[in-house]
Amino acid sequence: MQVIEILIVGTNKPILATIERLINKEGQWVATLSYSVKEATSICLEKDFGLLLIGAGLGEDEEVALKQQIAILRPKLPVVKHYGGGSGLLFAEIYQALATS
């Protein structure tokens, strides 16, 4: 089974912790948390990820900046925005992003 590393970025720590728990529970996915655009881009430089998931708390300007930097640093890394803050939409968002990447 191929394990997919998923980098999560956001600022709402309780929601990010929920997302991390849900992702790690799946077995085939492993979550890494980051709490700012700067931290996320820094981690991306050091390690390969299969998916970047934008979680709760980033402003729209920060999201745009993050996507621009990732497009330069890791142009093949799929980026998906997570909505809803919990389990409802998370898996469909990840499945879709991985299927289209």
């Binding site: 709402n12 309780p14 929920t18 708390g57 909505y83 803050g85 389990s87 499945y95 879709q96």
Partner: protein, 238 residues
């Protein structure tokens, strides 16, 4: 020419957790169907049955407009903004999750299940201050009309949300036909039949069927039998 999509009731996702049985019109939690992700800004339409005395423990949300419409029984709501309330059939509850909210929903009546629709829409404004509201609808006794229960406007009928969406409930006698006029260009309408049979654009819909229609300014709905249904007008691009 109008575009349409039909979701028959028996093609929905089903989750049975013992305390919760959920019929899901769009991909949700463990149900994933790439052909059923959303209808425009409408992302979740769950037809939920919660066993008496059970419910959803405290859990978070952000950046989503969450609407609950009880159909039978009651739900007790608590949230991180300090709201405690009970909603029952004939009422509607709305939460703008915005920057983040925690809430729980329990069926306080151990003797009977609570049935409700859980509806999520993508918001048109992100990171808003979370808000909660619930109102008593006067839709239940008005027959043969589209009765507005939700809009984007705080001073309009029903609850309001951060999205250019309008919801109407309708209770039609058999053979009643009415034309629905869309409020905004670019919107579509998802019709969910609560009870009975209706016909829309030549398509016969039965209880719990869903039907989406877009690229049109208006359409007629005809009740074949006595029928109740929900019309959800939402932006197709958002």
């Amino acid at each position: 020419m109008a575009q349409t999509v039909v979701h028959k009731a028996n093609t929905r996702g089903v989750a049975d957790h013992g305390w919760l049985k959920s019929y899901q019109s769009f991909s949700f939690a463990g149900y994933y169907n790439p052909e059923r992700i959303n209808f425009g800004a409408l992302r979740v339409l769950n037809d939920d049955i919660v066993t008496g005395g059970m419910g959803f423990g405290e859990h978070p949300h952000d950046n989503m407009e969450i609407i609950s419409i009880p159909l039978e029984g009651e739900l007790q709501h608590k949230d991180s903004m300090g709201n405690t309330a009970t909603i029952k059939a004939g009422e509607i509850q709305v939460m703008s999750a915005g920057t983040g909210i925690y809430h729980s929903e329990y069926n306080p009546d151990a003797s009977k299940p609570a049935k409700f629709l859980q509806i999520w829409l993508f918001p048109n404004k992100r990171n808003v201050t979370p808000r909660y509201d619930q109102i008593l609808l006067d839709a239940t006794e008005q027959k043969n009309e589209f009765v507005q229960i939700l809009s984007p406007n705080a001073d309009d009928a029903g609850v309001w949300i951060y999205q250019d969406a309008w919801f109407n409930l309708a209770k039609f006698d058999a053979e009643t036909s009415k034309t629905y006029q869309l409020h905004k260009k670019g919107n579509g309408v998802y019709i969910f039949v609560l009870k009975g049979e209706v016909e829309v654009n030549g398509q016969v819909l039965e209880t719990r069927d869903g039907f989406g229609i877009w690229e049109t300014d208006s359409f007629a709905v005809k009740a074949i039998t006595d029928a109740e249904f929900l019309l959800m007008e939402v932006p197709m691009e958002f």
